[in-house]
Subunit: 257 residues, 2 copies
Amino acid sequence: MATGRTHRPATRSRGIPEATVARLPLYLRALTALSERSVPTVSSEELAAAAGVNSAKLRKDFSYLGSYGTRGVGYDVEYLVYQISRELGLTQDWPVVIVGIGNLGAALANYGGFASRGFRVAALIDADPSMAGKPVAGIPVQHTDDLEKIIDDNGVSIGVIATPAGAAQQVCERLVAAGVTSILNFAPTVLSVPDGVDVRKVDLSIELQILAFHEQRKAGEEAEAQAGAVLEAEAAAAAAKETGKGPDGDVPAVMPA
Amino acid sequence: MATGRTHRPATRSRGIPEATVARLPLYLRALTALSERSVPTVSSEELAAAAGVNSAKLRKDFSYLGSYGTRGVGYDVEYLVYQISRELGLTQDWPVVIVGIGNLGAALANYGGFASRGFRVAALIDADPSMAGKPVAGIPVQHTDDLEKIIDDNGVSIGVIATPAGAAQQVCERLVAAGVTSILNFAPTVLSVPDGVDVRKVDLSIELQILAFHEQRKAGEEAEAQAGAVLEAEAAAAAAKETGKGPDGDVPAVMPA
DNA sequence: CCATCTTTGTGCACGCGTTCACAAAGACAT
DNA sequence: ATGTCTTTGTGAACGCGTGCACAAAGATGG
Ligand SMILES: NC(=O)c1ccc[n+]([C@@H]2O[C@H](COP(=O)([O-])OP(=O)(O)OC[C@H]3O[C@@H](n4cnc5c(N)ncnc54)[C@H](O)[C@@H]3O)[C@@H](O)[C@H]2O)c1
Ligand SMILES: NC(=O)c1ccc[n+]([C@@H]2O[C@H](COP(=O)([O-])OP(=O)(O)OC[C@H]3O[C@@H](n4cnc5c(N)ncnc54)[C@H](O)[C@@H]3O)[C@@H](O)[C@H]2O)c1
């Protein structure tokens, strides 16, 4: 198996920071929009604004790719689109399989943004026999039995899992065994994979919970602000009373002062 | 359990690290599974394995919430479920609206995992008049015209955007103006919002591109490994010519005239 | 009550990512 | 050519997150 665990010095000049990699698609999207408007060049300031990031960060990100800008002018849009595309590996075609063609899987299959960037839905796979042959988004659904053959025939290295959580790990293992080395997981499970296999997860539930946390915090602060000087009361209460309660009390630690 | 002593040096009541917040739902999910299996206590080691994180990291995360563990034993599952739920704000009900009931929006509406954790789909909203009144996942779709009223009537503070990219910013502004302060965005756009509004984005395309990057890198390393001594050649070339930065000796850095 | 054993909670060091600030590079006008 | 003006590319400082390693807490058994 492709164990990236070689005696390589690691972090070589080839080592683009992960945070930067994650932003490249963002830049690419903004650049593509500019390209469509036939804008010839952009400054780091403008592009950063379009991508919603700090301009210094953007320049540093680009510095990892090389010096593609012109001082006093900015970056050549077309050229940068090409460089980033190449860096991300989008100049080649990536056949992708989607496993689990339910509500979500079908939506993904129908998603146009897939093909727009070198990603091609090579096959749709589901365990439900009654779905076999039925076309979704113009592509006939194939049965899980043929998973290995499909992966192999199409040279698929990227798989998308949209099955129920209970089936995800098993599906994952079959995909990996068949040669898939990158997985995008929509099922709410922690997938365990061997070294050399990349997994990224998209978890709606987690995102909502994070939002809820901040939402609650906002509500709490608002309440405190309304209560005025109650902040001090909270601090005092927290210091004095530590029994059984959490860091900030279950109910907003503000007593009706 | 209520062995709380004034031992805690004024725990970061509000300052829970963002990285920790993002992991709490993960812990909660693992704990819920344990709870369903009636497991009374769990060690940081076990729970960390279930959540796919480092045990030291998990303990540090929990330390931000307070000292809820018992040394020599571990954590009380039920109690921890409660504490994390409370911290995340899941002990209350969060009405959510989904805007843009197309392929993805419909899938989201049908998603069972929504309601399972205090999130309630309060309304489905779409701009297409022909969809108005038509039920999706048992909930009648309402027209965008009534967006403000719906938000207000239901006390919605969390909105999900699943419209085409072109409409996202506009929809976002209407949501915010109507009182929504947390947005989960599925459209491939950078949303600009006023201070105090949280936005999280789920971007399939970006995830795939990140996977493609690593996939390409893996393929490159594999090729290098096969080529054997070529590694040295590359190192030499890299040392000699550092203007370009060709990873695999690709197109030279030719500036566009 | 003491000894031993398990597991937490955390101080500390380290590395990554972000941001500032500015010298240098180049465009452009004169 | 020379000067000015714009914008890049990056050195350096800083802050956050991670993981190690261990002392302390508490359970358990004698
Ligand atoms: N629908 C959403 O918006 C949404 C959002 C977030 C997460 N998710 C997650 O995505 C996954 C799919 O959600 P969904 O709503 O599409 O569920 P679904 O039940 O509609 O679809 C699941 C599909 O997977 C197929 N399947 C089951 N076991 C399989 C196996 N072993 N191999 C291949 N296919 C198999 C089923 O036949 C079904 O077609 C779930 O894990 C869900 O939690 C869904
Ligand atoms: N389908 C996917 O799997 C997927 C994946 C990633 C991202 N996305 C993104 O999610 C969004 C939705 O994707 P989709 O496949 O469901 O598209 P879709 O075209 O099927 O659905 C879009 C829906 O939004 C509605 N709409 C349009 N303008 C609106 C407005 N101003 N207000 C309210 N509703 C409006 C349309 O009537 C339609 O029902 C797109 O931005 C897409 O890029 C989709």
